[in-house]
Amino acid sequence: METGEHMRKPIPVRIAGFAARGPAPDLNAALDEMIYDVTSRALTSAEMTIDDISGSCMAASDLNDGRAISTMTLTGSTGSFRKSEMRICNDALAAVQLGWAEVASGASEALMVCSWSKLSDADPAAILPLAIEPALHRALHFHPGAIVQLRASAQTGQATVTAPRVLRPVDTAAAVVLVPDGAGGRGARLTGFGASMGPYLLPHGDVLTPVRTAVVDACTRAGRTPADLRQVHVVGMHEIDNVELADAFGVPESVISRQADRDMDLGYAAGLVGLIDVLAAGPSGPAVVVSGGGLAYENAHAVVVEVS
């Protein structure tokens, strides 16, 4: 795990524009139509055209899109034709971080970061078992909800049995345009990031350790403490209640916010939808957006966004 000594303040970048569509159980739109809708509106909101961006960095799951390699047919709608294209298969906050790196490194003057999930074209019940070890765990019909509870049992030393909350599949798409800080001076600034990966299944440590690490690291890099945060927006992690999250992050429960319906499955787009929710609400001051992906929230990402 990283320590504060190793962390430098990153070069901030700005979010020049953003747009989202959905979430809804079925947007009744073609995949490329969903994506073009948000990328074109994000450009409009940034007062830019497609010629102004140098590429795209996206987060998407082939399985959630119901395709073998979904991005292969989407160059036009993501805006990456004749340009750089990068694709992340983790929560979209990881794509935000990589897009940020592209802009902060000088490789890009303006970059599209977009993400989507089209579970109306997929079979969510068929995807879930693929995430489980095939020889033993898959045969036992393990469910991520059960894994969280088993980890909680190991942590407390007592059996934990709860009825799992069932995730509802939805369609959604979201896009932001990142530019160097100072380029026009408009938009919110990204000032800190953090990420941490937990172990596969093995129940050692607190379930919330990876997301706590991601939030702490993001705040450290942004030069902030949890006491500075006006909002901690949590995406996913639908089995965890606000009071536990507040305790894990060291913030008052009143600071925690969630997606409108925490039982919606936004796929990899969850982090970007959450970031846009924060931008749209426009709180003054620093906010953290944090996501926990994987079977038991072990793939954690967080960013600090400062809306002025």
């Binding site: 990283e2 190793h6 073998a68 750089s84 298969c89 172990p199 596969y200 793939n299």
Partner: protein, 392 residues
């Protein structure tokens, strides 16, 4: 002022049709252990990990990065997985370079994995990318798509089966010097021409095998690398995507679906970064991701090693052989080993070994500037990296 990235070490597994002796976690452990040893680095010195693995349908596992995390020391570290189809292994070091250049992390481990043996038929997977009503009946996949490219090279630029056979023999010969290559077999041009037809004009020995394997590269800042005994420095990077509709790629001299234009766009960006004006004169060695013999010749042109339409002259003069003036894939390349999501990372690692002077029996004497590429889709996504023996 951004930070230049550098390669400290490279490791790869033995590549085989099926590594039944090792699961995915063991494969990445094997590659990562070798890379860390080569870099004289411990896992504790790694700040973040980029995991490169192509579609989940190849592995039969959703999110293989989570399955393998204990095998590559990723627990507790920041991790992101890249997947850009066949170009995945080239996108991994590109992402790591950006993370280092931006100052976000100083030392990044890039891990590439593919167990293609878990897929009953990789080409059937490709077919399902396309529209199920209009397109899937055509059975367009990478092999049939690249066969169309070869046909156009033959029609427009004089490519013959003799040129393609020479490429196959050259690459198989080179692979005999590389202990990690999948195919170790002495072949002749007659063998190539007599091999089984796959999709005209492509025959079996014009094409790559399906391989299981993993690779890993340790990357860090140039400042840190300068304190080590060996390093390769990233001088230039490029990445470009083309449209997927092939009809949209055929309309003018630049867009003929014979010479991959997106490879040219990607290379031009990398050359600009690296200040390369004349790649044929300035590059010492090239590690292209060419899974088919005809594509390697097309890349000679899109990489600027030969003028438009004259890539075949590099074959006719032997310029790209080990003893030529611009050796191409001295490792044997993709035609002798193709663990798809890791292949681009192997090209990158091999290019790094060349400029570090550590490529063993397939070392190109005096190599100081190398190019590595990766490609994905049907001639659609490309990455290019320029690696140097010296820092900026």
């Amino acid at each position: 002022m951004t930070t230049q990235a550098a390669v400290l070490g490279f490791g790869q597994t033995k590549l085989k049709t099926s590594r039944t002796d090792a699961g995915a976690t063991e494969l990445v452990f094997e590659a990562v252990s070798a890379a860390l040893a080569d870099a004289d680095t411990t896992i504790d010195e790694i700040d973040a990990i980029v995991f490169a693995s192509a579609p989940e349908v190849f592995e039969g596992v959703y999110e293989p990065d989570r399955w393998c995390v204990d095998g590559f020391g990723g627990v507790g570290k920041p991790l992101m997985r890249v997947h850009t189809g066949g170009a995945t292994g080239g996108s991994g070091p590109l992402a790591a370079s950006r993370l280092i250049a931006s100052g976000m992390y100083e030392t990044v481990l890039v891990v590439g994995l593919q167990r293609t043996s878990e897929t009953a038929d990789a080409q059937a997977v490709f077919t399902t990318i396309f529209d199920p009503i209009y397109e899937q009946d055509v059975q367009l996949n990478v092999i049939s798509g690249i066969a169309l490219v070869a046909s156009r090279q033959m029609k427009h630029y004089g490519l013959t089966i003799d040129h393609m056979a020479w490429i196959s023999v050259k690459n198989f010969d080179n692979a005999l010097r590389n202990p990690f290559a999948h195919l170790h077999k002495k072949i002749t041009e007659a063998d190539v021409k007599a091999s089984r037809p796959i999709a005209s004009p492509l025959r079996l020995l014009h094409t790559c095998p399906r391989s299981d394997g993993a690779a890993a590269v340790v990357m860090t800042s140039a400042d840190r690398a300068a304190k080590r005994s060996h390093a390769a420095y990233v001088k230039g990077l490029g990445c470009a995507a083309d449209v997927y509709r092939i009809g949209d790629r055929i309309h003018d001299d630049e867009s003929d679906f014979a010479i991959p234009r997106a490879q040219a766009w990607s290379a031009q960006e990398a050359y600009r970064d690296a200040g390369i004006q004349n790649p044929r004169e300035e590059l010492d060695v090239v590690e292209v991701y060419a899974p088919f013999a005809n594509l390697e010749i097309a890349y000679y042109e899109s990489l600027g090693l030969a003028p438009k339409g004259r890539g075949i002259e590099l074959v006719e003069t032997g310029a790209t052989a080990m003893d030529g003036d611009i050796p191409v894939v001295p490792s044997g390349g993709c035609m002798t080993a193709n663990p798809i999501g890791a292949t681009g990372l192997i090209r990158f690692g091999e290019a790094a070994l060349q400029v570090m002077g550590r490529a063993g029996d397939h070392q190109v004497d005096g190599a100081q500037l190398a190019l590595a590429s990766a490609c994905g889709g049907i001639d659609q996504f490309y990455t290019t990296a320029i690696l140097s023996s010296s820092a900026n």
